[in-house]
Each structure stands twice: as structure tokens, then as C-alpha cells.
Symmetry: D2
Subunit: 265 residues, 4 copies
């Protein structure tokens, strides 16, 4: 595409009001800087480190909020699914089904997502070589659904740490468009003892680096008050910083796309 895609929103569907506050602000920013915007919020945090962490306001209620937000803002929606039975029900509401990183090898989930006919966005597992993501793409495409993209969010570099291997971006782009998930790439899994920490200070550096390689889109979790977000607060971009952040991202993206086909061989 000739415009970068921006998947952004709160981590979880906390409430209609917070979704609207974030979604309307980001929509305006995305338009201003020439991004295609997709509103993101999870209806269920299904794999929190500890079961004492916030999961959801409920699947039905979350999907209802998502639907209202999509209509009110007139933007497409993305959310993740965790088991194959959810695919059809969620696809009735959203435009893009996201496959979580831990689940990127679950054949049934990928097929169920593909069979909905909606776009499928697969996150690279923290344990997957970039080239092996082609098999996840093939599983979805075997349903006849060609609308698949991949997402980078870091590989396990020892315990409680992830590293973004920038070589993985051009490798995965051989198979499908690639989105860079800024928020989860700076996560520290389980690093706070019972919940995951984050390193928000590295977001601008990693985002520019990934953009400069030449990619197709970005995924960002944002919140007016990250410290009060019900999940992923430590690695979110504050909503008040999003305008400047997206402006910067656009410049790096333009540079990346300009040189994406530069070869030294």
C-alpha cells in the first residue's frame, strides 16, 4: 500500500468512554499524518502472567463496545482471538483478527481465522525464527483467504527480555506485509514478578529503526494515563505524545520505503 497502517488503541476494552477518547484522538492524528487507521482493543487478556491481573469486562460487553466505537468513529477494528470458537463471533464485529504471538503455530486457530474471510494479522512468536512465519501465513492462505499480515514483537533473548532482530522484518516481508508492534517489543515478560514490565524509553529508537528498514505499518498501545491502564501501562505511549510520535514515525517510514529495495549484492 502507499500509506502506512496504524493499528492503535488501548490495550484492553476498558470502557466505551476511554475507547472513544483514545480512538477519536488517534484517528485525527492518523489522518493528519497520512496513516490508514485501525482501532485496536483486546476483548480479553487471555494470557496474563498471573491470574490476579485484569482480564476483561466480558467478551460480549467488550465486543459491543468495540462495535459502537467502530461505528461512532467510522474506522475499522482489530482485536485478538485465542481459541478457534471465537473466530466467527468476533469476525462479526471486527475487520482484522489478530493471532497472538504465543498462538502463531496453532493450526486450528489460524484456519478458523482464515475461514472468516476477514483480514488476519499474525504476531511472530517469541520463539519463532522469522523465516518460519511463512508456514503460519500458508495455513491461513490454505483457506483461500489471501488477506494476511505479519507482526514483529521481539524474540526471547534470555529470560524476561525480548530483542527485535531487524533482519526479521525484510525476511517476513517476503511472505506478507509486516507491521511493527512497538508496544510489545519493549515489554519485559514476567519481569516485574507476576506481571510484565516495559521500557517505554526505548519506543522511539526501536520505532525509527524498524520504520527505516522499510515496513508496512505500526501497532501502538496508547492511553491518556498509562500508569492507570489496566494492562501494559509500562510500555504504552502516552496519548498526549502520539501526535509528535506519529509525525516522527512518518518521516522514518518514508525513508524506509524509499530504500526498501536497495541491494548490495
Amino acid at each position: 500500500s502507499d500509506k502506512p497502517v496504524l493499528f492503535a488503541g488501548p490495550c484492553a476494552v476498558e470502557s466505551f468512554d476511554i475507547c472513544m477518547e483514545i480512538g477519536s484522538t488517534v484517528k485525527e492524528i492518523a489522518e493528519k499524518h497520512g496513516f490508514s487507521y485501525v482501532f485496536k482493543a483486546s476483548f480479553d487478556k487471555a494470557n496474563r502472567t498471573s491470574s490476579s491481573s485484569f482480564r476483561s469486562i466480558g467478551m460480549d460487553q467488550s465486543l459491543a463496545v468495540l462495535e459502537r466505537v467502530g461505528k461512532a468513529l467510522n474506522v475499522p477494528l482489530v482485536t485478538d482471538i485465542h481459541e478457534s470458537y471465537q473466530a466467527a463471533e468476533v469476525a462479526a464485529v471486527v475487520d482484522v483478527l489478530q493471532i497472538p504471538a504465543f498462538l502463531c503455530r496453532q493450526t486450528d486457530l489460524l484456519l478458523a481465522a482464515g475461514n472468516t474471510g476477514k483480514a488476519v494479522k499474525i504476531k511472530r512468536g517469541q520463539f519463532m525464527a522469522p523465516e518460519d512465519m511463512q508456514y503460519a501465513v500458508s495455513k491461513v492462505r490454505s483457506t483461500g483467504n489471501q488477506n494476511v499480515c505479519l507482526t514483529e514483537r521481539g524474540f526471547s533473548l534470555g529470560y524476561h527480555n525480548l530483542v527485535v532482530d531487524m533482519r526479521g522484518l525484510p525476511i517476513m516481508r517476503q511472505f506478507a506485509p509486516v507491521v511493527f508492534d512497538i508496544t510489545h517489543s519493549i515489554q519485559q515478560p514476567g519481569g516485574m514478578g507476576g506481571s510484565s514490565g516495559g521500557q517505554r524509553e526505548f519506543a522511539p529508537f526501536l520505532a525509527r529503526a524498524a520504520a527505516a528498514t522499510g515496513i508496512d505499518g505500526f501497532f501502538i498501545e496508547t492511553h491518556p494515563e498509562p500508569a492507570k491502564a489496566l494492562s501494559d501501562g509500562p510500555n504504552m505511549i502516552p496519548l498526549a505524545k502520539m501526535d509528535e510520535f506519529i509525525a516522527m514515525l512518518k518521516e522514518a517510514w518514508v525513508l524506509g520505503r524509499k530504500f526498501e529495495n536497495f541491494k548490495v549484492n
Copy 2:
């Protein structure tokens, strides 16, 4: 327990005959060397690298075979589940529900398994710090089911490679009994391009090492002709080697248990 547990069988339920051939042989070996035996076979290979690999002879048929094998041999059964809807149906047949490594953080799956009241065996994710497995254990125990064990099967050491961090065994034993999965610890994920390779030659070394730390059981996939197994052939122990292998394992296990409480602090 005062006896080590041996979870062993073919990787997948290939047929009743092959299950009986393997199960009856291993049962005898286990008794001879003083192991508690649990027959293992998967009813579905739900996360193969590529969708062109063998998955299953069908869930219903596989469960039926498993049930016949369990009755014919009078041994308990273990098999893995991949989505929460499978828990109750599978628990009607088997004694131990195994949670695959990629899925060890899926709260719903852990709760569904716990709620069956059957024993739950959780494999450590290839991306999980050993100490973080306590949260997976807690999720199961939150259902009131205290019968949980953990399984080591290697951590991502770069791409297409796993390493067994022996420190993880005593760390995880603080939370639950620990089983060492010999077969998958020597897997090379995606290492053959579209399917996983294996390093059978290291099985005896890793098995003795893990046993010598002091653990509770072992998990081994075995087959009369590994090269013809429908999955995991490159890392299986040939059935004809199992007697000698288990004899060796027993000696290492006895040594490990003798010194398990030795402290230098």
C-alpha cells in the same frame, strides 16, 4: 513420590496396534525398573510447523483408541489439549491432561484443565523463565485442583535451537513436581525447513544430567521404527533401546534423589 513416573508412548495415536505394541513393551520395562507408567499419545498434532504435516487420525477415533489401550494395558493415560472446549471430553478418557508449551500462559485452557479434576501436566514455554511457571501452576490450583506437575522441554537459544537450563529443574520443583521431557528437549524447532529436526544422539546425556539434578519423572516418545513415525521421529528413542535406556535413567534418578537436598549455602 518414591517411584519415578514414566510418561511414554508414540508421539501421535497412529493406530491401535502400534499403540499396543509400544504400550505393552514400555509397561513391562517400567515395571521391571520400578517406574510408574503412564501411556502417552497425542490425539492431534495441533501446532505442526507446516500444515502439510500429519495431524491426526481424528479426535474421536484417537480418543477411542486411547481408551481401548488404557483398558487393555490397565495403565493411566496422558494426552495434550489445545483449546478449552476439549478439556471435558478428553478428561472423560484420560487421567492426565497435558498443556503444550506454547499454551502454558493460556488462562482459559489452564482453568478448563483444572476444572476437570484430572491431573494437569504443564510444559514450560520455550519463552518462559523457570520461575514464571509458578503462575501457570497457580492458575490450575485456583480451580481447587492441586494435582499439577511441570515439564521441562528446553528454552529458545537463538533460532531453531533449544537449550535445557538445568537450573530450571530445581527452580520449578519449588512449585510442583517436575518431569523432564527428553524427546522435545532435543528437538530443533523448524530446523528442517517446514518441519522440526532432532538430535537423538544427545538424549542419553541430557536425560542423565536432568535425572542427576533430582526430579520426579520423565517423558519419552518411542517407536519401533522412529524413521517411520508420523511425527518427531528424529528425536525419538527406538523402542528396542528403551530397556537399556530406562535402566540407565533409573540409576541417574536414584543418584539425583539421594542428593536433591544437598546445599552449599
Copy 3:
């Protein structure tokens, strides 16, 4: 500085003629694109995987060639030292002493380099956390020599593989200016069995990414015919591609410096 630095040349001092061919070409390119140029060539490949690989045409002869090249081109010179006794002798010829990555914790070598009064360029060890490079810098500065810079060249991601953790660049810039070593970051140590392989195709991607984070310089090995280079051929940039490559690098560097102080906190 307001100009990026370009350390570039062949891997080893192969001959005066090849050094002049490379050095004169790169000098012109550097000037054209606004880089400060430092000619690089090693007088000894002291840590080849195997002892059957090319090491050197001899230390004395190499230093003599380096000196002639520096004078003929009127450019500063950088080369690496491996033992502390070499520091003074080499410092009589070159302007920047480079400390190899494996040796970045060798106190005597760092002190000997610092004591020459020449600039000291320390490569991050493939085993060093970025923040721990501050101690290497401090060792050099303890001699009173404040002219130190650091170089990123990848961290061990399992066997025979390196990953560039882009977070390391801003972390290390807290301690000293940071150079990105493009050539060795795409090396595959020992990956060809007895010698190191490389992935030249990733050079443009990693180079743009690193530049976009905001750094101070670049290190590139180049050769008119990489396949004939006596070392590091698989990861070199062909000399004929350098003009375009440096032009691209400049754009990415300008972007990186524009946003280097952008913060989301």
C-alpha cells in the same frame, strides 16, 4: 560532532595497492556525502576461527603500508590491537586504536591503549550487556585519555548467530559516542565450519535501522572484489556499491540525529 564518522577500508592490509584503491575511492565518497573519513585496515587477524586462515602480511610491513596510505591520502587511520605491547608501536602510526570485541574487558589492553593518548575505539563484546560497556570506557578514561568511542557489532543469539539489539545504541551513547559496525553485525561466527560466514543482504536494513536511532558513525569493510578478500568477504560491501550505500546512510543518519532526543516519558 556535526558530521558522521566513516571508518572504512579492507578488512586486512592486503597490499599497498589495494589499500590505495579502496582508500582513495572511499575518501572521495565520504567527502561527497559529508562524512569524516578514517581509513581502516587490520595489521593482523589475530583471532580467526581456524589457524589455517589468512592472518597478516606481517605486523611491520602492514604498519608501513598503513603509514604510506595515511600520508598519500592525508586521512587518519584506525587499526586494532590485540596485546598491550602493541599499543605504543601501533600508536606511532595510527590515530585510532581499536579494541576487538572479544578483548573489551582486558584491563591491560584498555589501559595501554588509553596511555598512548590516541583515540580509543572499543567494540562491544558479543557477550556484554550494553550498559556494562561503561566500565570499559572508564578503564580507558582512568588514564586521563577522554577520547573514547564505542562500537556495536552484535550480541550472541544462540550459536553461529549475532543479533543487533538497537536498544544498545542509545544505552551506550550515555557513556561515549557510538559507531555501528555494519560488516561484523551481519557476520555468522564460525558459521561456515572453520571460518565465519556473513549475510551481506541484510547490511542496508541494519545500517538504516541503526542510523535512524541516532548515532555518531559507521564502520564498513569494503573491497573491489569481496569474494577475493582475504577475510570477511561474505559480509563486505562491494566497493562499487559504496557511493549509493553512503548516500543512503547519510539520509538515515540525518533523520536519526533529528530525533535523537525525542522522548515519550
Copy 4:
């Protein structure tokens, strides 16, 4: 050999008295349990994280102490060298020259050690694939000196952490006898900010595991009061625990050697 070798002593030559206290105690323990004993102490800690840490009481004085200890106890000595000029001088005093892990690819150092005719003990680099250690062995053997052994001490598993890959032990034994360095395998490099931490509590587990694979010897740093040791205290075995520790090690070693040639292929 039919006896395991025990390399043990304080980390550094702190004083003649402390060396004698440790050496005489360990010598007796080694004899009691059937180990060949080699007294170990470093004359210089040449690669401390920070230059403010203890390095040495001086090379000459340290070597003089080592010599006195060797004669008084009538035991062979091992110490490490860091630059090639030290090889001959140190070889005049000790029986085994140890090549530090960071330096295991330094050709000149390996050749200088080999040329002394003394035994050469090479530690695996924290960045080296086990099979690549064959080249380090070849470098020493190219001098005509066949008396080489390898030592395992952990591979970089992300930052500030090492993992012992037990597969590496049989891989390296194809090239030379293998010693397991218990003390440094539980080190946490740079993990205490400016100095390295350690995890003494894992020493018995890793030691039993490594021994059970089937190896040739062990390396242990010990001290009557580890908390007062001038380096490596957090990962040392207290001297008062050494008798029990070595007794345990012996049992695991016997088991490992019994099964070292067991094959499943």
C-alpha cells in the same frame, strides 16, 4: 584417565597462608575421594568488570607464592595467562596454563601456551558454539603440544546470564578431555552493576548434571569465607562444604563414566 581431575583453589592468589589453608584441605579431600588434584589460583584478575575491583598482589609475588605452595603441598599448579608474553614466565612455575574464555580465539596466546610444552586448558568462550572449540584445540596442537583440555563455563543466555548447554560436553569431548567449571557456570556477568554476581545455590545441581553426562574433571573455586574472597565470592563453594561436595561429585562422575558410551542410535 581413570581418575577425575580436580582443579581447585581460591580465585586469586590472596596470600601464601590462605593458599596453604585451602590447598592442604582440598588436597586431602581429593586424595580421600580418588581425584587427581591440581591447585588453582590466578596471579592476575585481568578482566574484572570494573577497574576498581581487586586485580592482584602483583605477578611476580603471586608466582612466587604459587611456586611455594606447589612445593609445600607437592601438587601440580594451574593459573591463567592473558597475553602471550606471560606464557614462558608462567610456565616456569606452573604445570597447566589456562586460557580464559574471552581469549579462547586469540591465536598468539594459544600458540605461546602450546609452545611452552606445558598442559594447556582452554575455557569455552561465552560466545562460542561447542563444536567451534576444535579450532582452539588445533591451534595449540599445531605447536606439537598434544596436552590440551577444554573447559565448559556457560554460554551467554541474554544479558547478565549464562546457561550450561549439557550437549556441549560430549561435543567437546570429541576433541579433547573436558573439565566442568562449576564456579563460573553459575556466575552472573556484570549482574551486580560493576561486578559479577553468582548463584551458589545451583552449584550442586549443575555439578551433578555435568558429571552425569560423563566428563574428565572439575574446576571449583573455594574459600574458607567466600564473603571475604577478593573475587567470585558469590559463586564459590565454602571450604567447609568441599568434603561432602566432592564425595557427591565422585558418585555422579562414576555414573557418568559408566554410561558415557551409551548410544541410542
